[in-house]
Symmetry: C2
Subunit: 415 residues, 2 copies
């Protein structure tokens, strides 16, 4: 089946906002095995939207519209889509009730134009919206499914996950299920090479790689007559991936991030960690502290951007800095040992590098980053050379440091 996206909003045409909804829905549709050939953006203009919808009806089985369901006169997606399908709008009692509850609960005044949002095309399926006042709508006719969704991502995403995804899944002759296996410590092309034979012969289930900063995600997808059967088909493929990639796989749960996986290990083995950051300047700790509840394991961290701070807070020796420089194996080693001692922590991860744009030399070019993980007496040093601008170098360094930290914990636990 084919699906087409139509995003409605003048703010997209003016470049005021980035269309993250399109990427989100496109990925979900790909997961469902739907073929997407077109994405369009139009403004809040009924003529142009009507023309586009008429064309879309001819070329696609499913049309997903998002945006333009607000209460104002400008918001015309529903009115236009209703006209194109030859239907009329009627009030939905439950939608009216939910709008009233939503606004009253938040102490907001209900104005006459709010009731416009309770109107739905006759015979349509209403997708009630716990996060806003615009219900979503599914309109079906003999050839096309038209799905109307609110534009704000905090309304669109839960509605898609809970109501649209299951609906699209049951439209198809087979159920499609998928699972995400996430890897760290391996590049995209290396990961792809490792599974080229699987990709080449694949039909059902399939595996598809997605490159992320310092990570590779592999999506496993299977089609079958039931959810149970689809997951049963995924299982041997997943087992094969674990066989090939081993501990490079940090999770098979889509909602788990790398920092969450690391935090879970820290919690499981009752380990405390601290950070000693130079060029990343707090971003590693900042990412770890994005995990709620990490306070038991990460109590403090050090940002030591200057040589003096490396000496004062981490006890790096003046000689080491003089002889080898701040960006060196010797320095990150002393930073990690000193940080662990200062914080009285089991583990310390240190980072020192040249993020650029200036400060590079022939021996130590921009992008060179040393890092060390001290873990209960053992130390692991890594030298990386990243490409990209200052913020890219720092982002990659943080991802590498999380991987180094994870590897060190795994080695500690095994030993």
């Amino acid at each position: 089946m084919t699906v087409e996206l139509v995003c409605v909003g003048t703010e997209l045409l003016l470049g005021n906002i980035v269309n993250t909804n399109a990427a989100y829905m496109a990925e979900k549709c790909a997961m469902l095995g739907l073929s997407m050939y077109y994405q369009s953006v139009v403004g809040d203009n009924p003529e142009r939207l009507k023309e586009l919808l008429e064309m879309a009806k001819k070329r696609s089985d499913i049309i997903i519209l998002c945006g333009g369901l607000g209460p104002t006169q400008d918001d015309l997606t529903k009115e236009t889509a209703t006209k194109v399908t030859g239907k009329t709008l009627v009030e939905d009692a439950q939608a009216r009730q939910e709008i009233e509850t939503f606004l009253t609960k938040r102490g907001r005044k209900i104005t006459e134009n709010n009731w416009k949002q309770a109107l739905v095309p006759e015979g349509s399926k209403v997708l009630y919206n716990p996060n806003g006042t615009a219900p979503g709508i599914i309109m079906e006719d003999e050839n096309t499914q038209m799905i109307l969704l609110p534009g704000p991502p905090n309304e669109l995403i839960p509605m898609f996950e809970e109501q649209v995804y299951p609906y699209l899944n049951q439209l198809q002759p087979e159920i499609i299920c998928s699972k995400m296996v996430k890897l760290c410590g391996i590049g995209e092309s290396a990961a792809e090479t490792e599974i080229l034979d699987l990709i080449e012969k694949q039909d059902n289930p399939t595996v598809a790689p997605y490159a992320k900063t310092g990570e590779v995600h592999l999506r496993l997808t299977a089609r079958a007559e039931s959810k149970e059967k689809a997951f049963a088909m995924i299982e041997p493929l997943e087992r094969e991936l674990y066989h090939r990639f081993g501990s490079k796989i940090y999770t098979d749960d889509e909602s788990i991030t790398l920092e969450m996986a690391v935090a879970q290990l820290l919690a499981k083995y009752h380990l405390t960690v601290t950070t000693a950051e130079s060029c990343t300047g707090g971003l590693l700790a900042g990412r770890l502290i994005n995990v709620p509840g990490i306070s038991e394991n990460l109590k403090e961290g050090y940002i030591t951007y200057s040589n003096e701070a490396k000496e004062k807070l981490l006890g790096v020796s003046h000689d080491t800095l003089e002889q080898h420089g701040a960006v060196s194996e010797e320095t990150v080693l002393e930073m990690a040992k000193g940080g662990a001692a200062a914080a009285n922590a089991d583990i310390c991860v240190s980072i020192s590098g040249i993020a650029g744009p200036d400060g590079g030399t022939k021996e130590k070019p921009v992008g060179l980053v040393y890092m060390c993980c001290y873990c209960k007496g053992k130390t692991y040093v890594e030298r990386n050379l990243y490409t990209g601008n200052r913020s890219k170098v720092r982002e990659y360094a943080v991802a590498s440091a999380l991987t180094l930290l994870r590897d060190a914990i795994l080695k500690e636990v095994e030993s």
Copy 2:
């Protein structure tokens, strides 16, 4: 004049990447006063692309295509666009030379298919690409300008800034110039209310607000027969904005970020700063250290996520933490004073809050964040209540802290 965007790439249709190029180019086109009614995404499919281009030629004056200019057989944007305009491809000697230089410099092997990128439609204007191997192309016929650009943002953006923007500007009867005035410490609606009279009566020049995290950007645009006249028209409007917003304006240079503006103040007045972060866990320091050359002013920072760390590293008294809690005016005050003393810095910014999702109470709900700036003996405390998830709360807190830091420096300098 009307302009239409066509982004080519299967990775967009699969949701592998977010289409930031579209937002970037849409904003630039809006700045140029071009009307954009359509944005489309299609895959690397010559039939569908051809059909779309034929339609676009009928409805728009300018068509900007991006993506699909690579060296592989899949990349068909140039071939398809050439076919639609009835031209043929010829080799451009300079393009060939530049591709060779680009690859040789980087020690990369030149393969036969690289020369495909040196082919351009006869009679077209070639946009040479210092950041990659795909040149951009401008094709003109009596009715339409078709502009082909490479997909990677690090190639597209410089090419657009340096070559496409001036080209589009000279196409129009009048020159369009714009300037961005950036504000901190004021919300979007408050900023808009303040200039409602200017917005309502505006024609030329115009002012348009853009909401950012903890900031509001105002774009001033004028049309005139020359660049000088356009900027002369912007000047009184900008003066009026400075009159109304005063020091809330932190820059009128589009390339300056809030952390850069703060770093410039620190450098100008030879001030040293340190950070003492709890819930933001290093993100404030991380953002400041994104400014190259800040090492003279920011030498170290403290991540004190636990109460023990607040006592140990910053000297916060045990009693204060017991009596008032970690998220309180009293605690951030002691954190800031203690941080400045520990780092021997002129200034210290402290942050402590409840980022969620857990840990909130009726008195201290999720989103409550206290912060303090100690600046040469004076202290400024702020209490904020943010909405949004954990990472949003932390992001907003960092933006507020930068604003608080900036305000403190300005007060110090004035006094």
